[in-house]
């Protein structure tokens, strides 16, 4: 019993310590922002590996998610004779929820895990300590550009996901199932609000991008510098990112769409 309590206390303490280290790490990363701005090349390279390389998986997934929404929505809505509102259903679910959330989950799996593995390996092969020896701050040089790249790419990726998904829903809805194309778009435009839906979706994706990049980089930076440690850190990145994205999504949704 005492052992159990001891263990419990230790685990709690460890997780709080980790959260503290994570916050300190985040502050360090953010304070490096100014020193990245004079070197846009660093940021650009990371935008390539974080954003451009995620482009394909995001657009293809977006297309299929939109097409599935078109199909499922059509079957349900046609029972009520309301096929014309298919556009609203597809667009609202994509812009409000699926766009930011699914693209953030894909982002955590595609880019976040890669970031963790990269940083973890840099640590394991002592490249980070090597940099410190040369009086180069690894946080400013390595971490901050990656963080900014993830933070900037995420809203763009989520917007692409939603846009492609809406087009996919239209392809299935009016191309395959015969919903009127004009009704699809006009109902959508009448019911989707720029402020309430689009902007809130973008805010969500910015928050998710921030959290997913933070977790990925911190897990890499905090990894035990062995091959096993790096693999564990990569797993933790994906698991923790998924948890935080879905949990935050609930909180953000409750805050944003609560008073409707």
């Amino acid at each position: 019993m005492t052992e159990f309590l001891q263990q419990l206390g230790q685990n709690t303490r460890t997780s709080f310590t980790k959260l503290g280290r994570g916050t300190f790490f985040l502050l360090q990363t953010l304070s490096g922002t100014l020193s990245v701005l004079p070197r846009p090349r660093l940021l650009l390279n990371q935008m390539y590996s974080v954003g451009v390389l995620s482009f394909l998986i995001i657009t293809i997934s977006g297309l299929f998610v939109g097409m599935v929404l078109g199909l499922q929505g059509y079957y349900i809505l046609s029972d009520f004779g309301a096929e014309e509102t298919l556009g609203v259903m597809v667009a609202a679910s994509l812009v409000r929820e699926l766009g930011p959330v699914v693209s953030a989950l894909l982002f955590a799996g595609r880019a976040g895990s890669a970031l963790t593995a990269e940083i973890g390996l840099m640590k394991a092969t002592e490249q980070l300590s090597g940099m410190e020896m040369m009086a180069v701050d690894p946080i400013k040089r390595i971490i901050t550009p990656r963080f900014l790249a993830g933070f900037l790419s995420m809203p763009l990726l989520a917007a692409l996901f939603s846009a492609v998904g809406i087009v996919g829903g239209q392809m299935v809805g009016s191309g395959l199932l015969g919903v009127d194309e004009g009704a699809y778009w006009s109902q959508m435009q009448a019911n989707i609000d720029f402020q309430d839906d689009i902007i809130n979706g973008v805010i969500k994706s910015i928050v998710f991008g921030f959290v997913a990049s933070w977790i990925a980089l911190f897990e890499g930076y905090d990894a035990i510098p062995t091959s096993e440690g790096v693999s564990r850190a990569t797993t933790r990145t994906v698991v923790n990112s998924a948890f935080s994205i879905l949990g935050l999504d609930f909180i953000l949704t409750a805050l944003m769409f609560g008073d409707n």
């Binding site: 482009f55 846009a163 959508m188 720029f194 839906d197 689009i198």
Partner: protein, 155 residues
């Protein structure tokens, strides 16, 4: 770093397509293009019951959308609902004896304000008030009256 320039091109393409996606969402998907703050003027109407009317509900005249509801409040003195509407300023020739009624689009559809123009030569101006209003029909009330009536007839 021999691929630097192609990398730049890809990053450029990526950022451009992301912005195009956002632009598409703003213009094609949302109501931003149809409801950019046109010049509009505000009129108010008092209903004894505004039913399920909401802020941003459409205001239409002869079936054409001419504006939106901008605010709904309860007047604690007269116990009426005060509905403020923004009317597109291109429709500035509504007579000041216009009737406003709360209608429902379809049987279960959303509620909207219908404006029925009167015959006056004076037009409603910014801050104008609509004097003649017709409240929303509350389904439960109508049903209750109907049931009450049919019960009376049976006696």
């Amino acid at each position: 770093m021999q691929h630097t320039s192609t990398q730049d091109t890809f990053v450029g393409l990526f950022v451009a397509s992301g912005i195009v996606g956002l632009f598409f969402l703003a213009m094609q998907v949302s109501n931003l293009s149809s409801f950019t703050e046109h010049d509009s003027y505000t009129i108010t109407a008092r209903f004894s019951n505004s039913g399920g009317l909401k802020v941003k509900s459409p205001v239409s005249a002869a079936g054409v959308k001419v504006g939106r509801v901008s605010a709904i409040s309860f007047d604690p003195k007269t116990y009426e609902s005060v509905v403020q509407m923004n009317i597109d300023s291109q429709y500035n020739t509504l007579p000041d004896d216009t009737t406003a009624s709360v209608f429902t689009a379809g049987l279960l559809g959303e509620q909207y304000v219908n404006l029925e123009p009167g015959g006056s030569d004076d037009y409603l101006k910014n801050g104008g008030k609509i004097e003649i209003t017709q409240s929303a029909i509350i389904l439960e009330k109508a049903l209750g009256q109907f049931l009450f009536k049919s019960a009376e007839e049976k006696k």
